[in-house]
Each structure stands twice: as C-alpha cells, then as structure tokens.
C-alpha cells in the first residue's frame, strides 16, 4: 500500500506518519519525487482500511494498493523517472547513454587507447572487465586488481567515468574509484551481493540473469533499493532459449515492460545478447527506437586478437559509425546523447 502525500508537507509530520506505521510492525519506503512524496508500507496490509487513513490523515492525498511484489522500484510508488548522475553523465529518461569498452582490460595501452577512442566517438561511460566470470576455470579470468587499476588509469586519461563487474562482496574496497558497479547476469540473484552493494553510495548496473523473468529482475533491484541504494540501472542482455544461432535471445519487449513498471533507467547490452558483431548495430538502432535509456557495447581496438568475446566486439571504426548513426536518430527520440 502506498500513500501519496499532499504537496509541501513538513518533514516532521512525514516522520511521525512513518513512525506510526513502523510501530505497528510495517516497514516503510519513503520515496521523494519532484512532484510527489510517497510512503509505501511493506508487510501484510490487508487489514488496513485505506480510505479511513486517507480521510483521517492530514498529510495524505490519496492511497493505492500495490499488487506487485516490487515496491521501491515500482512506478506506482515513485512516478518520476529516476535519473542517475555520475561524473557529470546522466542516465535515465530523456538521455541515451552509451557505455563502451572491451570485454577485458588487457594492458594499459589497450584500455587507454580504447577509452580515448570511444570517448571521441561519443561514449559517455567506459566499460572494462577486470574480474571475468568464465564457464571454464582454464579460460582467462581477467587481470583482477591490476585490471582495475589499469581501468582507473584509462578513466583519468580519457576523462570518462567507468563501470566494471564485481564478483563478490569482499571486493567492494577495490571498487572505491569505480563509478558504476556492475552485477553480472550470473549474480543477479546473488542476494548477499545485492544487499552489500545496496549499502554503497554509487550506481549499480544490474544485468538480467539468463533464466530470470522481468519480475525477478525487478525483485533483485528491490533488494538493492530496500538496502538503501536508489541508484539502480537495469540492463537487458538476452535470455536463454532454444535458439542457437545467437548466443542468447534479446528480449526487447522487456525494455518496454521495465520502463512501464519501474522508474529506473533501462539499458541494453546487444553484444552479449547476440554474440554476433554484425547484429550489434541494427539491434542498437532498435534499442534506441524502443525507448531504452542507453547501451552497453563491447568495443575493442583489435577484436580478432581480443582475450575474450572478440567475435561480438565492434572495432573502433565500427563503433564510431554506429555512434554517428545513433546521434542522428536520438534527435527523433528526443533523447540527449
């Protein structure tokens, strides 16, 4: 159940309202929007007479029952679009933010060169993997801490905020200067990790798991938000189906559903969704047209010799061409790039 408050209610009245509910055993979510402030109750609300509350409280404008299991991420609770700002870059409705970079940080020259190039082409965030989740223990596992420090050198060199994947909560101290923490698809329901990044004060990029429903993605975002971190970016990256011609199946409908049901930014990773370089550009155009808030694109200076995922990476020229194409199209969509 959510109560939308009247405009300009004083803070101590809100606090009293919240305390009253908490003393009755409910948890609460306070959602402060530009137009509305809302208080959402978590718990068994079936016994509450909502109309009575609305009529008797001096601060409540109206109430609504929330049938969905997700509350803090729910657009009903928080009607404004969430815009996340990091290092001067905005992510959310009205923007189309492209994050680019290699699957893995390989060496300083590589990551700095890619960083400068993708920035030139219009990317606003640099991605680069240091800790790599790999199916085989015998495959390249990333450069680890050294990879992170090279990524941070590239951040400085190019002046781009960075995003990188965290593998477990013991790594949190290593990510102090990483601007956006990525939770990979395989960790989407690593709930302890979600709670841990929920206590961080920086944006979390949460990728959909290969077998996870849209609702489960929203519930995982709810873990982060209910732990205290409002800055969650959702990322569709393909689900696992019977089709084998692509690595996964990009669920483009999910983008629309996520934007309808939640106020959080939604981006798409067409590289992992397909695993095929020649599909990245057309799908990126589709992703922009469908209403997503950005892209995560694997880009490499030398895909043929990349240490991982070369087959799905754009080279720097291909990325530049794609960005130039997307910029023209962003105008029609009323999105800033």
């Amino acid at each position: 159940m959510v109560f939308i408050l009247k405009p300009k209610v004083e803070q101590d009245k809100i606090n009293a309202f919240i305390s009253a509910w908490e003393s009755r055993g409910f948890s609460t979510i306070l959602s402060v929007g530009t137009e509305h402030t809302a208080v959402c109750l978590i718990g068994n609300t079936s016994g509450i007479d909502m109309d009575y509350v609305v009529q008797t409280s001096e601060i409540v404008e109206y109430g609504r029952r929330i049938t969905e299991r997700y509350k803090a991420v729910n657009r009903t609770v928080h009607s404004d679009d969430t815009i996340i700002t990091v290092g001067g870059v905005s992510i959310g409705e009205g923007f189309f933010t492209v994050m680019a970079g290699p699957c893995s940080v390989e060496n300083e020259e590589q990551i700095v060169r890619i960083a400068r190039s993708v920035k030139e082409s219009g990317a606003r965030i640099l991605r680069g993997g240091a800790f790599k989740p790999r199916t085989s223990p015998y495959d390249f596992q990333g450069l680890g801490e050294q990879g992170l420090s090279l990524l941070l050198k590239a951040k400085k060199a190019a002046g781009l905020p960075v995003v990188s994947e965290i593998m477990n909560q013991t790594q949190i101290p290593l990510f102090e200067d990483v601007d956006i923490i990525q939770i990979g698809a395989r960790n989407m329901q690593n709930f302890d990790l979600l709670k841990a990044v929920g206590q961080m004060k920086k944006p979390v990029l949460l990728k959909r798991g290969l077998a996870n429903s849209v609702e489960e993605l929203l519930m995982s975002a709810e873990y982060v938000m209910s732990s205290g971190n409002d800055q969650v970016i959702l990322c569709e990256r393909g689900i696992r189906t019977f089709e084998t011609m692509t690595r996964n199946t990009l669920d483009i409908s999910a983008v629309v559903l996520l934007k309808q049901k939640s106020h959080l930014p939604v981006i798409v990773d067409p590289s992992h969704a397909t695993g095929i370089r020649s599909l990245v550009a057309p799908l990126s155009r589709a992703v922009l047209a469908v209403g997503a808030d950005g892209l995560l694109i694997e880009t490499h200076n030398d895909p043929a010799n990349a240490l991982c995922d070369g087959g799905q990476s754009l080279d720097l020229n291909q990325f530049e061409q794609l960005m130039s194409d997307l910029r023209k199209r962003a105008v029609i969509e009323n999105k800033r790039m």
Copy 2:
C-alpha cells in the same frame, strides 16, 4: 554447390547445363536475379570438382559450396533482395509494408469499416482471420467460408489486397481471391501444406513456429520455394520462452539474421509476439529501425468487444497515430511506406 553464370548466357546453354546435372542425379534450382543467374545443385556434391567445372564450362563465372541446408532461400544462391508485388503493393527491401486488420472477421460492417480506416491510415494490406486456430475446441473458431467472403467484400470496398490464414490444403480453392496466403505458426512445419501452397501462384506469408529456430523457418520456406513458389514472406511473431509477462518473446535478432541469410522479405507481428496492446507501438518502431520490411498488426474498431485477441489489438485511432509516427521514421530508414 551453386554456379554463378556469366552475364547474358543464352537460355538453351543454361538448359543444357541444367540437364547435364540432372542426368547425373542432382536436382537443380535456377535462380534468375537482375544481376546474376545462378544454378544451384541439390544432392551430394562432395564428389564434384568445382574448380574443374568453372574452368571447363563456358557459361560459369564462378562456383561456391553452400554449407547451409537451405538453398533456394539462401542469399548466396540469390543475391538480389526478393521484392514481392501484389495488387500494386510491394513487399521487400526498400519498402515498409504494414498489414493491418482484426484477428477475426466478425461481420461485414466491422471488416469494411476497419479496412477503410486502416487504408486511410496507410496500411497497404488488409488482414482478417476467417479460419482461426484456437487452443480450445469450445472457443470461437472464426466465421469460416463466410468470413472469407466478407473479407473479400472489404477488399473491394477499400481497395486493399488481403491476407488470411489457411488451415489445410483442402481449403485452397476457397482462397482463390485471397491475395496472400498465411501459414500460421502452428502450421510452420505442416510440410504437406507447405508443398501445396508451393504449387500456388501467389505470395505466402510464413509465420515462425513458437518453438522453431531461425534455420527451421528457412527450411520451411525452402519447402515452398522448392515446390515452385518463389513468393515467400517470412514473419517473426515471437517464440515461446520461460518469460510469462508477455504472451511470447519477440526475437528481434531473428529479423537481422533472416535478412542476412536469405533474400526473402521479413516482417514482424508485434501483436502476437507480446499479447499486450501497449507494447505494439514501441516494438513497431524497433522493428522498423532494425531493418524489417513490414509489420502485421492486429487492429480492431472495438478491441474491448473483439471476438478474439482484443487485449493485443490497437483501436483505429491508435493505429493511425502509430502509422503517422512510422511514416516519419521510414524516411531515415530509406524505406517507402
């Protein structure tokens, strides 16, 4: 194995070349494009010395081994894009052809009214179901023959070519005046039906089955083409996955793959792919941006009271708005609507 012929070879030399192969036990596909004519051999070609053929034949320019199981639909065999023309309407690369109309023909007034309205809005083909495949025998099964005759009245009244679904080959005589024969998703591997429509002289709209791969869709098109009918339109309409929030999962990557691997037109049905009205417009924009050749959209004058699939149908105003939006976007894509 395909042999691309030199330009302007005389027909009797081509015939002799074909006869020579057929006398050796191969089937052949003759593919006449605007730039190239090609002869494709079907059978076990592993024993053929391709280079020897190229060097000794006076009409062959070059040869290529085809690793794919689909031949006639293969872009390697037929490099030009196939453009299908029906009732003055073109379908294929360079065009974006929208087919619209109700799930079911319900009565004359309904179908004529919808036909006129969608034509006004820019639809180029009228769709309308007469024979409806329904999961339950107790659900409305369509008006049958009467439905077809009402559809044909609407065709005349609005001046629009029509597409309707055939359920089995005994119905072929009923479809004489239907311009495009639709093979539904459940019949994608009804091979006898594919062979039967392969002997018709009119375009076939072939929908992807719910559990069928991109390759299987191409193989089903191969059934139609190898039976003698070159006019096949492929239609992506969503596949069955674990996600339950949408009716099916639109596999938008398949559009790009189908266009890369085949020369046939590819359209998308976002209505059945999602089952949700509010997703149809954004997905239609994505479908245009990704490079598809058209759309199949369920449109109804009164979705709330439709006899089937009302929840996924646009009303006539929504359709008009969508078309107006798509027309602007088609300019950027260099597509004629």
Copy 3:
C-alpha cells in the same frame, strides 16, 4: 459443470436431461463409466445454480464446477481410467504396452524382420513411419503409400497391430487398416486434422508438440474427444529447451500430471525425447517406474544404416534386453506387459 448421475438411471431420463440443457444453448458431453455416468455442460455455466439442479433433478447425485478448460478428457468428468483395446492389445492403467519399430519403413524384408523380432521380444504394437515429417525438403520423406502397404504386410506376417503417422486429413482413406493413427508433434495443434481423426472409429496416438504445454496437449485431446472419438492415447516425447546435449528434454513430470488430470492412457517416446541410443534404456526404466502406461521405441535391425534417426534407434538385441529388464520391473508396478 458436471453432473454425476445416480446409479442405474434409465437412458430416456438421461436423454431428456441432456435435451433440456441443449435447448438452453449448452453443448453436453455424456461420459459413461463403469461406476458413474456423468453429463458435462459446455458453455457459460456461471449463471446456473448447481445446488438447485441437484435438489430438483431426480437423476442427479451431485454436481461439480470444472475450472479446467478441458472437459471430456478431465478425470473429474470421467473418473475411470480409459483402457483402449486394439487387436487384442490393451493400453491404459494396469498395462505397460510397448510399441516398437523403425523410424521409417524401408523395405519389406526390413519391416517384416523387425516386426517379428520385436514381437518375439514382447512388443505389442508395431510402429513404422510411411509419411515422414522432415525439416528439409531434400531429406528422405518416407516411402508414402508404399510404406503403408509394407507396414500392413508386416502386420499380417507378425500378427501385431500397427501405428503410423498421418500427415493430413486427405490421407485418412489410406489408413483404413492401420490400427492406431499417430498425430505427430508438429501436428499437435493442427486442429482440422484433430477434428478429422475425431470422427474416425479407431485409437489416436497424440504426441505432445515441442513447444506445447501439458494443458495444450489436453486441449488437443479435447478436440478429438469432442469430435466423437474417445480413444486417445497421450504421448510425451520431449520438449524444446536450451539444453543441446539431448535432442529434446523429456518432461517426465508431465506423465504424472497427465495421469492425474486425465483418464486417458499416457505413453512416452524416449527415442525422440533424447535422440541418443544409450539413454533409451535407463529412461524406459524411469518411465515405467513413474507410472506411464507404455513406451514408443525406435528399433531397427541395422541402426548404422537406417534411413532416418539411426542414432537414437535400438538394435534388435538391445531391444530384447530392454524388454526382458522391463518385464521384471513391471511386476513391482503391478502392470501387465
């Protein structure tokens, strides 16, 4: 809604009861069991006061609302297990009936030899494909009519009833002497074919489609039964999932669900479900233990040279060993083989 009638009600009272409902616009299903006779109403029954009917009718013992969409196949409507008898062979609860034979009938010697051998080993029904649904038009399509006539020779030679797949309703006359009509997985929702075999007077073996749910399989059986044919055998044969190590994924839970929800016999095809010979025997043991009523097993005298599906076929020795193993196990299950 189903009304269970009192014991030994006279037929003309039942007829009058049925007529009364049909005159009010309902369709009815009359289900005659050994213990109960039931009348099921099809249509919108929400306005019927069930208790009033029970109290006022002299022939009704009690009534139940049926929430499932399937009625005639529903165990609530027909509580006895359906036992189908064909050529002296019983199929249904209490029996474990093995059907065996090659994917394709190839020639007289092959099919007769296999027939005699599998009979010797304990198979009670001979399977053999004459019309083969193949993904590629260039693959062997079966011997067709000739294949059927060879199958019928083997039927005589070995004294075994036969099952073979029908591809479309125009073939019905050809199947006059075939004992069980098989509807293949790709035709599970070929509703016109279901209605056509629903008018035949012989058992139908209905295979689950690759992307079809348990409920949809029951609805397809409902098409056959509501067309007048009570003799439906359900067959689980694997569904399509992301797992590629097996051809399909055998959904063994479906066997239990189908037996719980329906009164129809349920058999399993482990050959198509896995596509791997070495899995057929262990899965057959599991299928018996889980409570299924039989098996459909591809068996060939020379799998290495089979014209189709050799990799999943048992040879005649392997089949004999499997049958010998199953016979011992059938004792514990209280099933007659």
Copy 4:
C-alpha cells in the same frame, strides 16, 4: 590429453613426469583411482605427439586426447566411480542416499523432530536451510547463524550428517561443523564461491542452475575440483522452460548423461524440480530407476504451516511411505540404501 599410467608406478617417477610437463607450461591433474592412475594435462596440447610420449615414457601405458572442456570431472580421466563418505554415509555408485529435511530450519523442536523422524524412515543425511535465497527481500530469509546452530543440534540429537546451503564465501567459518556444503542453483556460476569451497576439505553438493546446461554444470564442478576438492556431488533440480504447470522441468535425462560423462555422484531434488507434493513420490521412483545415486527431498512435520515451500514438502508419514517403497525397489537396482 590424459596419460593413463602403468600399474604400480613409483611416486617419484610420477612426480618427475608431472614436473616435466609443468616446466613446459602445462597445468596437470593427478587422478588416482583404484585401478588406474592418470595424469591429465591442461593447456594447449595440440602440439604434443601423444604416441611419441607413450613410446618413450617408461611409466605411461596409453594416452587419450580429451575433447571435452572438463577434465578432472571427466570419466575418461578418472574411470572409477567416485564414492564420497561423510559421517559413515556413502554417496555414489552402488548406493542410493536420501537426504531429507525442511526447506528452512524454523525452531529447535521442529528440526529435531524432523531429523529423528526422517532418520527413522531411512534418510541418511539431514538437510535444513539456514540462509535462504529468496526472490523477494520481504520474504523470510532463513534464521541465519541461529538456524545453523539449531541444525547442528539436530545433527547431534539424531546422529545424522547435515547438508546446508552456503550463500557466499564469507560464511565459510560458520559451516565448520556442517558435513556437506550446498551450492544453490542460483550460485552454480558464482565462480569465486566455487573456488573458495574448492579449498575446503568437505563434500560439496552442487545444484544445477535453472538455465544451465549439463556441460556448464560439469564445468562448475571442474572449478571445485581444480581448486583441490575432489568431493563433489552433482544435483539435478529442474530447469526453467515454458511449462508453467510445474515450478521447473525435471531433466531426468541429465542424470544419465552426468553419470556417463563424469565419475561424480549424481542426485536429484524432485521437490524443487516440480514444486508439487503429489509428484515427489512418482518422480523419486523414476530417479531411482534411471540410475541416480540419491535424492534430496523436502520434508516437514507440518507442511501447511511451513515458513517456505510447504506446497512441495512431504509430511513425515508420506516420507516414511516413500522410503519404504524405495527400499524395495533399491534391491532390483542393486543399490544400498
């Protein structure tokens, strides 16, 4: 590439053989079986002349190239079945070990009562969740550390080894007295956790992820084994498909594949695979018949009031009946319970 050594080779010769390969840059796996000792090379072995090694080494009997990506778990490298012994209980080929207990430890009385009862019925391992992975942050998350200590009380009270799920590697110290560490389905590709439990000296029960292939499960086991822990038990617990009537789809074929390809014990969790109580007993019978090495069954003294997963839990009587049935059947399978 694996080299099978001659019988009774002295250890220092083996060490020298291993050192020689490691000095050339290969990692090695030493697999000591009762009949064979094998040395497996990890790395790019394409340049090795295997026959030359066999001919020139005095300790090698023969060599084989391993095409699979999994090495230590591969039956080719280790031909004996691995039998794991914990607290006097054996798990592996020849045994059928049933692990039972509640989804969640709820209180001392509950877990002790269940422990005593399932032991009486024949369970050899007690399961009980302390840390529960839940889709919603608002659902019961388990009793945590307190739950573990209650589980250990029940272990003592009933004299049963226990298995419980670990959520992340920081919890390892808490699991000191837990006999078997469970890695849940959602953590199957939490590679850091796999490496961490790979350094423990106790058995690991590794559940297959909802969207993970058989090969990926084997690769995750390879992470544990290549980190130094040979005691891995594989667990099939259902995969995610389009079928919604069951919670997941039990992939019973996977059991056979895993036993063929690997030497590790394989058990099945029919409770999570189906989510339906009435399916647990028939599926358990099938699991035994198919050749699995055991079961993991949710059992509760009061399923209707269980804090989680009550709908799929057996009550104590149902469990006792199932065990009694399974014991009779284990005789035919030649398995000790």
